[in-house]
Symmetry: C2
Subunit: 207 residues, 2 copies
């Protein structure tokens, strides 16, 4: 084996998924061509078709195997809020959600360019019992659990609150450019942003 490579090589399938993921992020879905993917993965175009039925299949695989998941954190908090305050929990959720959306939003968004592909992906997500609405509903569940525990107001609209918090995190990926290469950079760092959202949501803004 060559001394420069610790592993002889990753399996080809993995290299293809990595390459496709990378190109989807950097070039956008429509310029992530089979030729480029194969080049970056270090194999032939024909090899792609040994592992995936077609380009659509490959992209669906990337979306479901490479994008991070947010639900585990929410689920954990529903089951066990831990010894932390609601504000601490909400801050952590906001932080994770902001990072999650910053990574996954550009790719998810580019599905809108290809309505066909989007509906296939939506179907796959529904099959798995997930989808873009799940973070909101997961947070809603967490808030209702805290409400039962008397840690947030009994009159609070938990769904509205969940929409506000998750929305702000997602919107940040859309309205601001994390890398700052193209659009306006976000005006504050993730930690401050998350803390401000949690505090504002809890306290409200009425005079």
């Amino acid at each position: 084996m060559s001394p420069s490579r610790p592993q002889p090589q990753k399996p080809t399938r993995e290299r293809i998924l990595d390459a496709a993921h990378e190109l989807m992020r950097t070039l956008g879905l429509s310029r992530a061509t089979t030729k480029e993917i194969a080049r970056l993965a270090g194999c032939s175009e024909a090899a792609l078709y040994k592992h995936f039925a077609g380009k659509e299949d490959l992209f669906v695989a990337v979306l479901s195997e490479r994008l991070p998941r947010l639900t585990p954190l929410l689920h954990r908090l529903v089951l066990d809020p831990g010894g932390r305050t609601v504000e601490q929990n909400l801050t952590e959720i906001a932080r994770q959600a902001t990072l999650f959306y910053a990574e996954s939003f550009p790719i998810a968004a580019s599905l809108y360019a290809e309505a066909k592909l989007k509906s296939r992906h939506d179907a796959a997500m529904r099959e798995l019992g997930t989808g873009p609405h799940m973070p909101i509903e997961g947070l809603d569940s967490y808030l209702r659990a805290e409400q039962s525990a008397g840690r947030i107001a009994a009159t609070a609209d938990t769904f509205a609150a969940a929409s506000l918090l998750m929305g702000a995190c997602a919107q940040r990926a859309f309205a601001y450019d994390p890398a700052g290469t193209v659009g306006a950079p976000p005006p504050q760092d993730v930690d401050d942003f998350a803390a401000a959202l949690a505090a504002t949501l809890l306290a409200g803004i009425s005079g």
Copy 2:
């Protein structure tokens, strides 16, 4: 007015813009081909090139001439909050923003598929002093005006509040499918949603 056609015909340029806009919404950006646009507009492909330098030009024109604007409402409220309560104003803002994003989000999102086109569009937006971050900042301005007027808490973080409200409205377009044709339909109608957001943001959720 004539029974079948009120106008003998719209100018070709307008018909092309309408056709392109329609196809971008329904088929997605990458299937909105010059051939389809010409067919729907009722002219030849070559005619497109008499009015626009190329497909990119056409799309940039659609984005800047067909997408609705949200800023006028915000601007009006900053200058004159009117005789209405903050909650009424925020509800109206949320309502308008939800409708705005439902219409413009799918198209704006599909720009992510074409990084080249996205940066051209971003540049055009910056030129016009606008962009996806403007609604947040416009709302922030409004909130600061209300804060000066003593109608919201002096300690409130207006930027966080603006991020929460606008984010929830934008996220709704992303997480739920307004037409209900593909994804999950939104769980409540726009008016209720807007009212719940405004109330929750004002009051907070702490116990």
